[in-house]
Symmetry: C2
């Protein structure tokens, strides 16, 4: 599947580019690099699409420095590509027109924690684990957990979510305000710290998920949660995916405030058992977690067990002991490596779609049949409370026939989700790899509006070019 | 306080306007009116700003008819102003340049209810009470409750919220997708029905709160909730506003999932007692509600009572009996009329600000002192779990000195909220009356971005002109 690339005539003039790079080198010293290995590392690594390195990488330490870099680049129409930890999954940090990668990983200050307001203000290079370590003593946590220890700026830019979005929402629900450097170099502050506002267009939500194509996020005000008094978690086997999905629907519909509800299909369970030396039942499983008071999580766990039973699953074994829960979720967090171990030597990449939960069982089952018919190896794991599931596809990207097979499969997967009123991506974003589906998903009116906004806010087209419906 | 008005040279040419009106009259028959009383009713009524009627009103029955009207108006640069129930509070439906009011109140179809997915698809003229009546038999409800029985299209356009936003969020959190007619007449569909998506710019959130300045919403996909098994509610007196606010902060911080937590100041309590013939304690009160299982709400109510006691308030009397709760909330819903009754003959209008809850007590107390010093009559009621509070200001708009006093007071109120990292409006919107504060609140970068977006999506400036930072 050919990735549509931006018109190469948009590349900056070589002299102008060289001039910008030498100015950046002089200004930033050892916080500037044009080393090839480093450039390659800042092109994309976690996808099947080819790596496209930037011309140079700069590590700013402040909003003002980001403004300085953007202004300099804008003066010569040099593209700027923001970079956090490089864990995005759809080619978001590739530099198809070259340009300057702005690596925010050294912007790591936690500027303020307002415990009474349950919010904090951070720089974009802080990762979610770093933030949670910092917060732990204060009895607070930031709930969004996309798996990777991603930077918070990157998580905002891709509208990330993860295992507990079913309870706490996605990045769109947990960014109260942000500051972003616009294509002109000007700073945009989207909101104050009030929990809600009706003051003007929702620029916060416009930058969340914009994949760096409208500006570079340099500060985030995030909503925090109190660490729950008690957490219960457990595993529940089901005879098939359908009955597991039925239990999910009933759980959500009953209003049980489940904090996590993850589906592992049978192949995924087998992979995890082999890799993590576990003896989970050899069937589709739900991994479930509740947050609340001791009495609350006990009541909720019992009710979930009843629901599972009514749907043909169970028994639901649950615990509130931290060490047992940690072991349980370790298995969940190991799925990527467990999947890789299914086919040593192959490359694993992760893709996602999301459908209304009423269609989830059907979508998952059809997809499983498709995988089996195609002969691919692709275990499945899903944030099923949201109707969102992932396939970890194992392939040899050097084998053109296998690559073609995967590409065809991905296309069928997306079309299937769209035909069920779903989306081509629940939480990974569009990046380069899913651009072709945007029009199909939303129709021409939405795409025209997106392009009009992009053109208005980045008239020179320098902000992360070639991503999110731009080409 | 003079409302800044759009340049009158933007008014359509009289001949072109007359031509559009005669075409609309011919096309829509008795669903078209240029009657003066009707036009006045469609100019703004619930604020202190002068009424500015449109040149005509049309009642479309479908998205296609809205497209037809917008295309016709665009061809002659005639403004279009969307209208639901006319209950917005900051002059949103005034027609400062004249033009055609598109009254969507006859677009009332409930297109689909997906009980398994907890969502529904509705036309914009359905009101929240109509929707909830329709849903009741299915055990579902739509939680957003701004007080007035507003249209759902209007609630989306002003990013409304209300008493239970503390638990269920605002319109931004409860609109899954929408369809809007753009200034060109083209239809924009912002998303499918998946519970989350990372596919492209968040156009849904861009239209929510855009006050009709980017397009006219003609369809909404809304998130629903299961009707809770049990609801407990009660009233808790506090010696002063500060201790009530302390209890709110502790409640939120403990993670108690309060569904509603409303503060009435002493003047408001006195007004409600007099009007609704109640004998509530003559002190600041919190009105609190919990949703959940029977055991859950009992546990939560007990814990709230303990918190209130620790903060110097109480006793917290609560009940799960529907008839008692109804009486309780009737008092809350009567605050507007109860306030009016404090000064017969005067006009009451409602304004709101929102601050981080750590600053709420301070903001409320300073505001109360300011009111007393100014000699205004203005009871206070607040959605304090969100840091959002309202003043119902009683005034005679024909008395210039009183009007000036109120305008000065409003300015101080907003500046106070902004100095505490809050917003000039938590849920009413900008409309005409708060335009001057947008720049002060967000700074020039944000305003420039908003104007660039407006210009890109409505190059002729015909969509609800003179609102939300446009002038």
């Amino acid at each position: 599947m050919a990735i549509k690339q931006p018109d190469p005539s948009r590349r900056p003039a070589p002299n102008a580019l060289a001039d910008v790079l030498s100015k950046l080198a002089a200004r930033f010293g050892n916080r500037y690099s044009a080393n090839e290995t480093i450039r390659q590392q800042h092109g994309h690594t976690l996808t099947w699409t080819p790596n496209q390195p930037p011309d140079a990488v700069v590590w700013p330490h402040s909003t003002e420095e980001v403004q300085e870099i953007v202004r300099l680049c804008a003066s010569a129409r040099v593209p700027v590509i923001p970079y956090g930890t490089g864990t995005s999954l759809e080619g978001h940090v590739n530099a198809p027109l070259g340009g300057v990668c702005i690596d925010v990983s050294q912007m790591k200050r936690i500027i303020a924690v307002h415990t009474e307001d349950l919010d904090c203000v951070v720089e974009p290079g802080v990762t979610r684990k770093e933030l949670n370590e910092y917060l732990r003593d204060q009895g607070l946590f930031f709930p969004i957990d996309p798996g990777a220890d991603a930077s918070l700026g990157g998580m905002a830019s891709t509208r990330a979510s993860g295992t507990n979005a079913v309870r706490y929402g996605t990045m769109k629900d947990n960014v109260i305000a942000l500051a972003a450097v616009a294509a002109s170099g000007e700073l945009i502050r989207t909101a104050g710290r009030a929990k809600k506002t009706s003051a003007g267009y929702d620029l916060t939500r416009l930058f969340v998920g914009a994949e760096g194509t409208l500006g570079i996020i340099t500060e985030l005000t995030l909503r925090l949660q109190g660490i729950p008094e008690s957490i219960s978690g457990g595993i529940c086997p089901f005879p098939d995916v359908k009955s597991a999905c039925d239990a999910v629907i009933m759980t959500i519909q009953t209003g049980l405030p489940v904090a996590r509800i993850e589906l592992l299909d049978r192949l995924q369970v087998q992979a995890v058992n082999a890799y993590s030396k576990l003896d989970l039942p050899d069937t589709p499983l739900l991994m479930v977690e509740f947050h609340g008071t001791e009495a609350g999580v006990a009541e909720q766990s019992r009710r979930f067990g009843e629901i599972a039973g009514e749907c043909g699953g169970g028994p639901f074994g649950w615990t509130t002991k931290p060490e047992d829960r940690t072991k349980l979720w370790q298995a969940r967090h190991d799925v990527y490596w467990a999947s890789c171990a299914l086919a040593p030597g192959k490359k694993a990449f992760s893709t996602d779609v999301c459908v209304p939960i009423s269609r989830l069982a059907e979508c998952v089952e059809e997809t499983r049949r498709d995988i089996d018919a195609t002969g691919l190896l692709a275990p499945m794991v899903g944030h099923v409370g949201d109707g969102n599931f992932h396939l970890i596809v194992l392939l040899d990207p050097e084998d053109p026939s296998e690559l073609a097979k995967v590409e065809d499969f991905l296309e069928r997967l997306v079309r299937r989700a769209l035909s069920m009123e779903g989306t081509c991506t629940g939480e990974h974003g569009i990046g380069q790899a899913k651009q072709k589906y945007l029009d199909e998903e939303l129709g021409g009116g939405a795409l025209k509006a997106m392009r009009a906004i992009k053109q208005a806010m980045d008239p020179l087209g320098i902000m992360n070019p070639g991503k999110l419906g731009e080409v």
